[in-house]
Chain length 161, copies 6
């Protein structure tokens, strides 16, 4: 009954993230989506908003839980008794950053594995940043994020104007 | 009780392969090491030798089985009722080839996931090809392959001389 | 009224190639698909077969012509009086090979440009090689190649058995 | 009579940018160099300065126009009735960013193509950032930017001291 | 009796940096570790601290000197009468940045070479940034930095709390 | 008085190789260009021809010697009492292969360093393979190889016709 942690900032969650969550549930009984409280960068959505949005868009997925964490990821993973960290890979630039993180985490906790899934090609160009950039300029992000996130982005950018 | 298939040519198995097998057993109850009968290239070791060597060096690993397969990998994976294909990633050049294969397999079987593990940095430069190249020129491959493989390589290259 | 040459082996043409041809026709009045007579590797389909298949699958595309060429590409491009060479880019590994070729061609003919289009993400994992590999093992290539090519592949591999 | 948009920040224009503009004019009748008003980062030169510099250094190029734009690039491209977006490729790191942007723009406007040219190898290491870094420390940038830009950089950095 | 300059920010020095310094001393009689006064980013350790730490951890290495420099690196290299700049390579992302810098420096000083060493695989995932990130969250960095740096990081982060 | 070995197949030597040899001589007193007797692939020029051509085109370079070697490179390097192996880097695809080789050689001989130089951008697209391909099709390779090599290529391909 292996458990995996899928960590990230999710500012906001995209269809690419959901694709990875669904792939992870086919291998792991329990997938905890772990939202970083402090990602070291300003976020558009508050921690509470990011948690609420994730819970909404994953509500129909069995075995998926949403939580926040702070501090060192690997300490959180061990405290939860998880077996693995899940990460998505889209491109070569991801690859090297992810390798660095996986090596570092392996050094700090020999018994925790990082497992990778490739994001579907249709989402391979997708990131939270590009979604925010397009939405902030009034572009359409239908098909790139869940419709609930589309609505939240509109509210946020109208409010910011 | 998820089952994974770890396919390859294993001509011969290296410590990098063993590293991936061990990582896979921490997530999957059963890991089938699937040796390609016909890899489209000439092999140094026959299929029987590759199977025998793999069985020898994985004999102490619980839940690990060694088999051969022929034809389309994805058909073999489905026939075995496995949940996932396991692959190792060492470098950027691996990345693109593996992405191509994973996409193709996903297209042919929507419900089979390919999961990736990074090879330990100490084996990141290691491949069966480089091992054979060094061994064939009389170089030492201790630490790169199990000692049983080291012995088999010596026998093979002395025999070939 | 710019004219472009789209060179390749096309053994066989895939939906990825067709995607590039269609993109090219939105910029160029005339796109000549130029099939290399001698690609330096054995082909599954003869030159005549590759030409016939390409003509069939591009018959509805306005301004697209199919021809064969031999010898140095850049000499052929100049003889045709074309303005540009068209190439598709799928991945980082393409990038470096294509850059090498573009630089070499620029050195040999200062006034001929090479222009690049990205292949649609849905075809980013696709190559003639992987199509042949899958088809030869009895896998389904629907959606990866035009249906006419699917039929030709079946004939070819049944004939070869 | 195809028209292309070449968008960027041009802070300041380098010989690498000019190389791409000249290549584009060999394919497109009209090339509009579109200067981003708000690039999301602080610029050394104001929008007015960047426009003035670009007009000066492209004044002898037939069919080249310089304009500013704000908001979503793809909306601007459609409003201008252009057929294509032009971008330069220097290196692998460019490649992935450009692919992401091209995919996103294709999603938002199916009928607009992004076409790529490789930058000449002699400018492959060149960026506006590295030019500014060297100039700000008193280094010589002759050969990397038009002499008019060299003069403007000297004025700017003397003024800033 | 060739002399090399090994420039960097060293905020703080890691075992990866020390690995490169030691490799450089096997080729060069004199290796000057040159600490950038102003790296364009905020540093955790002051210039004085970075110099002091480097002198401490390289005190046993023959032919290694530690200095600070400001302004254009290439001017400093020429003023010192050095023959070469030394840089470490860890990954593909390093590669392109380093190539850009090496090309720029070659352009500014034809007679100064940049020579590269690969970092040992065991340090290939290591950077000053990841060390600071882990240490700031209370993670263990033993084996990644000299023990003297480990102590200094603890002092710094306790002081900052 | 450090000595370096610059190994390769040199079939034939290009201006890119000469660029690396010249860079190496600015650091090393002695640079031995070591021609692989058996490179595992068919060569256009025989070992004797490759040695003769290299000696001719490096005859004016002080401290440069040309030799052949067979077997494991690292054994040859040790036998010669050299301090380092020299290699050129052109592109990302070189990077990973070279890293693999450097790691392997470091494993087999802890005290031999591999040092890398970047090839000049003007030769970054150049390889012996592309030179042979162009020359075999009657293309001009002036500026890519020394004029002596240009002559030898013409003789070779006329002879082969």
């Amino acid at each position: 009954m292996p458990t995996a942690i899928y960590p990230g900032t999710f500012d906001p969650v995209t269809n690419g993230h959901l694709d990875i969550i669904q792939r992870a549930t086919s291998i792991f009984d329990t997938v905890v989506v772990a939202v970083a409280e402090d990602s070291g960068k300003d976020t558009l959505f508050s921690l509470e908003e990011r948690l609420e949005i994730l819970r909404e868009v994953t509500s129909s997925l069995k075995g998926v839980y949403v939580e926040s964490f702070s501090g060192l990821l690997i300490k959180y993973v061990k405290k939860k008794g998880a077996d693995a960290i899940v990460r998505g890979l889209r491109a070569v630039s991801d690859f090297e950053y992810e390798m660095q993180m996986a090596m570092m985490n392996k050094k700090m906790a020999e018994d925790i594995e990082t497992v990778f899934f490739f994001t579907s090609t249709e989402y391979s160009f997708l990131s939270s940043s590009v979604v925010k950039q397009v939405a902030s300029l009034g572009g359409c992000v239908k098909g790139l994020v869940p419709s609930y996130v589309e609505k939240k982005l509109k509210e946020k950018y109208n409010f910011l104007k």
